[in-house]
Symmetry: C2
Subunit: 367 residues, 2 copies
């Protein structure tokens, strides 16, 4: 059974870990907040479950805890940021702030980032735009786990797209999705359950359709959104490619099959056309198009008419992108964040290794 | 058997039709070029097969042949265009030019359009950016044919996304896709063949999965890319929603279930929150990020490594987005554009009705 931890407890612990690897006070806070937003929003694979992974990257000197993150090129509405091998969790909010600042002055801001590392969940960075009455956009490339349509080889990461749009009285529209049929985290759940995956999620090492959730470890690949050609996998492949090009090639980061892996124990690619991994951020000021109040009123109308669509048999309601994550966040802020036993063990080991107290946190919170 | 017509013949004919409904010389040329690009690139459903449809829209006064298309609001990098109920085939190139001009000065340009009509294929508008060494983006919303995940009701159009990226020695990357599993045109082919559609393309009027390609006429709906929840249809739904919001709500056009239909004989929606249909265009100057030559060299590398990926059994090669359409275009420029008998008949009737010569064109081109 998972144990529940409060958001604050996990924040404090994560921040201490980031301080231990040498991050500044401010960067440690930002990194912990980026990381925990995944746990809060129900993307358990991208939260504290990965904390030790980030530490491993620091241990093999792939993460620079004191990066000199800077704009290396810019125009009125665009910029390229060099993340100086910093934590993506810190580089991403820096770059998104640049996009927002540019949008404030020029109507829109677009920032491509090189020399970064994994940035957690894309949605939280896109959502930074909301309080400024802007639309926020966040992409990142990642190491190759996905086979394009008709390809045996893995050529793309799960390359997520996040778009956050402010509304008025209704909560914001927040889409945040891998450009694959299913995220890797869902396969991990099936692995634990020793259950089969639906057709269209994965292929084996020869490119044949498979239902074995372990295929990725055996040389298989995730499939682009659509699953197969007949169901439009060439579209998911195109979307993942766009994310890769905007994040990797516009910035001068690595791209395609040459994006370095997250697990520190995996070898680096034999060829590296750029620096680190790449992200892409965008911000568009609503009132650079029309009065924000008018827009937000229309967004409320949009959200309500979609919520009021007639649900199919067996479904309770029609959802708007962001509903599920927001409801999980509300619940977890109240009841705490449930962590699997294996994740708790991993954090306990990490605590011992870096000399940070953790044990106490787990006491008295069993549910 | 389809008959082949040369590109020039169909251009001349289409232009004459647009002149007959009152378009200026220049607008008639632009409209014909936009329309024919669909036939050239193999998107037969969006080309001259729709010419009489555009004329019908003019006949019911939904298309203004002499629109005063103008920028009604702008910032350094953004603009809103009012299409004055003009042909989308003309409004779209106008708006894309604004995006390109803004990108020239500000690094990027973003234009949301209201009060327009159907613009043909999205890809051709995005591709206008290529010769300027820019990335081009084009979206449009459309009348509701698509049911969101868990919805019985149709709430979104097939809302395409097109992104064109320049390369160096390799041909450009051009993605152009409806945000549904399959385009409506593919269902029409199955209807003619009296064949079944694959599961995941459509649902019936009660929201149940169906393989009957006629469901759309019976109150059913197309499904978002992904097909069902288990295969990620909530992602296709989110993408279609983003296109709708950027095209419809940012501009003040109609959106969601209230976008007017293309066929002139269908009733207009009972409620109209905005004006006409909406589009969204973007242009990003490559050298607003990094030197264009460096970028294009990396794009060549990207395209080559994807082309060289190992193909699965039964597939000849791995394609890059845009390959298929470009190859069809090369062939059709040489051999002509094949038109189905029903399309030829429709054009012949149109020719008679508007007093434009067509018959001669079909002679001597039978294959």
């Amino acid at each position: 059974m998972p144990k529940n931890f409060s958001y604050e407890e996990l924040m404090t612990f994560s921040k201490k870990i980031f301080l231990k690897i040498g991050c500044s006070e401010s960067d440690a806070s930002i990194a912990a907040r980026s990381l925990l937003s995944a746990d809060l929003r129900g993307v358990d694979s991208h939260g504290v479950a990965r904390l030790s992974g980030y530490v491993h990257l620091w241990e093999v000197k792939r993460v620079n805890p004191v990066p000199d993150i800077k704009v290396i090129y810019e125009t009125v509405s665009t910029a390229v940021v060099d993340g100086d091998a910093g934590l993506g969790l810190v580089v991403a909010p820096f770059a998104m702030q640049i996009a927002i600042k540019k949008a404030t002055h020029a109507g829109s801001g677009w920032v491509s980032v090189k020399n970064s590392n994994h940035f957690g969940i894309a949605g939280i960075h896109a959502m930074m735009a909301l309080e400024h009455d802007m639309i926020g956009i966040a992409f990142t490339n990642g190491s190759p786990l996905v086979a394009p349509t008709f390809s045996v080889d893995r050529m793309l990461g799960t390359n997520p797209i996040a778009v956050a749009v402010p509304a008025g009285k209704e909560p914001a529209f927040v889409a945040d999705m891998a450009t694959t049929t299913a995220a890797n985290g869902k396969l991990e759940i099936l692995q634990r359950q020793k259950a089969a995956a639906p057709l269209g999620w994965i292929q084996d090492k020869n490119g044949e359709a498979s239902c074995d959730p372990n295929e990725l470890k055996l040389g298989g690949a995730l499939l682009p959104l659509g699953g197969d050609r007949e169901h439009g996998s060439h579209k998911g492949y195109a979307l993942g490619s766009i994310v890769d090009i905007f994040s990797g090639i516009l910035s001068g980061a690595n791209f395609g099959p040459w994006v370095p892996p997250f697990p520190a124990y995996l070898p680096m690619p034999d060829y590296m056309p750029g620096k680190g991994i790449g992200h892409f951020f965008g911000a568009m000021r609503i009132d650079a198009f029309r009065p924000a109040e008018e827009f937000k009123k229309d967004m409320d109308t949009w959200i309500r008419v979609f919520h009021n669509a007639k649900p199919i048999k067996g479904a309770e309601r029609v959802l708007v992108p962001g509903d599920v994550e927001r409801e999980i966040e509300e619940e977890r802020m109240r009841k705490g964040i449930p962590l699997m036993g294996s994740v708790v063990e991993d954090l306990e080991k990490l605590a011992v290794r870096l000399g940070v107290e953790f044990k106490k946190l787990a006491i008295g919170r069993r549910q």
